[in-house]
Structures are given as C-alpha cells and as structure tokens.
C-alpha cells in the first residue's frame, strides 16, 4: 500500500487521539470541568456584579460587558476552530475532526445568540435603540446564520460523507466573516465602539475591569469545554450504538 506524506503524518499524529483511546478521559472529565466551571463562574459573577467599578460614562450598564464580550469572543473562536477542523478533515481525511466540529458547534451558536441578545440589551441604555443595522451587529447576525446552517445540515443530511462535505464548506465559507466582524469597527463608521483590548498595544480598559472580564471569559470557555465533552461523548455512543446493530 502506497502511503502519501499526509497519510503517514495523519497516522503518527492522530493515533493518540482516536476516540477509542480518549473516551476514558472524555467520559470522566465533565464532572471535574463542571465543578471548576461553577467555582470560576461564581467568582466571575461576584466580580462582575458586585466588586468591579461602574463606568464614568455608562455607569452600571457597563456590567453587561462581562457577559457580552466573552460570549462574542468564544463564538468567534469556536467558529474559527470549526473552519480549521474542516480544512484538517479535508486534508487528513480524519473522521474524528468532523465529530469534534459537530460537538463544538452548539455551544458556539449559543454564545453567538448570547452576544447578540446581550448586545441588544446593552444598546438600549447606551445608544437608545435595541437594534441597528450596524456593521458589527449585522456581521455577528450573519455568523449566527452560518452557525444555524451548520447545525441544520447535520440534522438534515443522512449520508455521512455528504454531511461532512457540506458542513465543512459552510464552516470554510463562514470563516471569511470572522475577520470582517473583527475589523468592522475599524473599516466602517459604526455605532459599536472600537476594541478596548488589544494584544499588540496598550489596553484602554483598566485592570479593575480587565480582571473580571478575564475571569468571566475563563468561565465561558470552561462551559464550552463542558458542553463539547458531553456532546462528543454522545456522538461516540451514537457511533457505538450503530456498531452494536451491525454485530
């Protein structure tokens, strides 16, 4: 049998990540992740709602930032991961990538919806409107539509090969929107404020607000990990159920 470079690389790199080998970890991990999530969320909520200071302009309305911003970050991060895994699934022909993507998507979608709804709630006291067809908000809505199409495709199509191709195409096409969301506030004149946090330069946000934001982001990331693990286990058991039928 002739093995291409990618096949050899695939065999070596991914043999330790086969579902059969990692199920022992993924099936036990959710209870620990749930415990850490509850602890981190409790600290984050205390910081966000009680200990962090109010803003000199927005007053206490600024506290919405502690749910809105982490939700937006994580929904963007998860969609980028879906696109990356889709490319990986095309190149390495690894079925596990599709299973991981399918398990990641629901929490990404929920975070996208949270970002849109909490953004709308935040918009009313700060901009005087619940909704505006502004570049940032509209591009986030488009991302939610891509998430919706991605999840629907998994429900509609029965054929495994076909659904992997279609969902991969949706993720790869949809990821074009991610940099548009990121730079929309720089490229267009929008209602949405410019980014306060910049990895490459100084942040315009004080550490008394940055710390609660970091804790809430960690809590949200733990929640998406928890949902991912539970979904991944569900998908693996579904595969095993089909395996029992074939015995």
């Amino acid at each position: 049998m002739k093995l291409s470079f990618f096949n050899i690389y695939n065999l070596r790199m991914f043999k330790y990540f086969e579902p059969n080998k990692i199920f022992a970890i993924t099936s036990r991990a959710p209870k620990y992740v749930l415990f850490i999530f509850i602890v981190v969320l409790t600290i984050g909520l205390t910081e966000a709602l009680i200990l962090s200071p109010e803003d000199y302009k927005q007053s206490d309305a600024v506290r919405i930032m502690y749910v809105h911003v982490p939700a937006a970050w994580i929904s963007l991060g998860i969609f980028s991961s879906l696109a990356l895994l889709s490319v990986g699934s095309f190149i390495f022909k690894n079925k596990n990538f599709a299973l991981i993507s399918k398990s990641l998507a629901p929490s990404g979608f929920i975070f996208n919806i949270i970002a849109l709804v909490t953004g709308s709630i935040w918009g009313k006291p700060t901009w005087g409107t619940w909704w505006a067809w502004d570049a940032r908000i509209t591009s986030m809505l488009i991302l939610a539509l891509f998430y919706g199409m991605y999840l629907l495709a998994w429900r509609i199509y029965e054929d495994k090969e076909q659904v992997v191709k279609i969902t991969s195409m949706i993720a790869i096409l949809g990821v074009i929107n991610v940099p548009i969301i990121k730079y929309s506030v720089d490229w267009w004149n929008t209602l949405h404020q410019l980014p306060s946090i910049n990895v490459l330069s100084n942040n315009s946000i004080h550490e008394s607000m940055l710390i609660p934001l970091g804790i809430m982001t960690a809590a949200f990331a733990l929640f998406s990990l928890l949902i991912f693990l539970m979904k991944y286990n569900t998908e693996l058991i579904k595969v095993k159920n089909k395996g029992l039928d074939r015995l």
Binding site: P19, N20, F23, A24, S27, R28, L45, A48, L49, I50, E54, S59, D60, A61, R63, I64, V67, H68, A71, P106, S107, I110, I113, I114, V117, T118, I121, W122, K124, P125, F223, L226, I227, M230, K231, N233, T234, L236, I237, K238, K240, N241, G243, L244, D245, L247
Partner: protein, 75 residues
Amino acid sequence: MINEIISMNGYGAYVWSAFSFTLMSFATLYFSTKLQLSKEQKKFVSKFGSLNEEKARAARSQNINREILSNISKI
C-alpha cells in the same frame, strides 16, 4: 447595599436581564445536552442487553464499550 445591587443606578433591568438570559441559556444547553447523552446511554444499555452471549462478549472486548457501560452506573 442590596438595593444598590438590584437597582444598579437605574440600569438594573438591563443588567439583570442580560445576566439572566445568559445563565438561562447555559442551563437550557446543559440540560438538553445531558438529556441527549443519557438517552444514548440508555439506548446503548438496551441494545447491549439484547445481544446474545457471543455477541456481548465480542462487544465487551472493545475498551470503549466497557467504558460506556461502566459510566452508565455513575449517571
């Protein structure tokens, strides 16, 4: 102190509704995912129970099947 936290300088309705929506979304997603997982686990147990001895032995030879069965008792 408690009144201040509730009213949030007049922004209480906005702040609390944003946080409530987030936590309710978390709870909904968590419980629906847990329900799906336990449904699949129950289906696995019932299918496993209907296997004859030889097929059950073959299925049990796979680590992942043993793991699924051992986790079901911990739900």
